[in-house]
Structures are given as C-alpha cells and as structure tokens.
Symmetry: C2
Subunit: 83 residues, 2 copies
C-alpha cells in the first residue's frame, strides 16, 4: 500500500536562522507588528510503499536522516498525512 | 495571546519541482525503491499575537500570501500548531 508521508525538517534550537531573521526584520514595516519568532524550515511530501504505517514511517525516517536533513544542525520529523 | 502558527508553502499541482525530482532520481541507488512522488516545500513557524485563534490565522494567511509565498506558483496553508 502507498502511504503519503510528510517529512518536516527544522533547524535545531540555537542554530542561527538567517532566513527567518530577515523575514522577521521586514515585518514591522509591512504592518505585521504582532508576529515574532519566525523560523524557516523545509517540508518534503512523498509516497512510501509499505505493508503498514509503521513500516512506511520507518523508511521515511531513514530517508529523512540520510538524505533530506543534516543531523548536525537540523531535526527531521515524519508523519503520515491524513487525506 | 500568542498563537504558534505554521505556514506550509507547497508548489501548486503541475508546477515543476526540480528539487523533488532530483531527490526522487537518487532514491533507487540509495536503496529506497518504494518511495515516489517527492515534492519539496517550505515551512515557516511563527508566533502571532492576536485576541483569538481566528484572528491569528487571518494575520498569518495575509502574511503568507503577501510575503512568504508566490501565489502564481505556490499554495500557502496556515494552521495553529498544537503544543
């Protein structure tokens, strides 16, 4: 069966996020004064063929750690997407 | 009150995704034969000060459309993140 999986890659706490910081600096001038703590991340959506959800998530987790993220500075979370 | 909001930016259906295609091409050689339809996207996490959840989402949606995405080729979805 094919499972739709989302891999969410975020910077670890404490790692500098220049993209988020740049967005945050631009916000007051654009009228978004109440928005803070902007952090940028990446998301990958993929279909994993597996016998069950647990198997699909295991494949996705291995893929996320080996290929889609840099474990030194990033965390990767996987979940099956509800359709 | 501060609401933690996630802005999920994805390429619209039919828009070419070179990053996703490159990852997909590399998968068989790395032992991930059962993984298909890789699509890359961006995620922004931010805190929005608002009176209620509806207000926070409205601010985030406006921000997502004006600043965080290109509406010609991308869709933006906003949600309040459960803690």
């Amino acid at each position: 069966m094919n499972y739709p999986v989302v891999v969410d890659v975020t910077l670890r706490p404490g790692i500098a996020d220049p993209e988020g910081a740049t967005i945050e600096r631009a916000l007051p001038a654009l009228g978004f004064a109440g928005v803070r703590h902007v952090r940028a991340g990446k998301t990958f959506r993929l279909e994993v063929e597996a016998d069950d959800e647990t198997g699909a998530l295991a494949v996705a987790r291995s893929l996320a750690e080996r290929l889609l993220s840099n474990p030194v500075i990033e965390d990767a979370a996987v979940r099956v997407e509800s359709r």
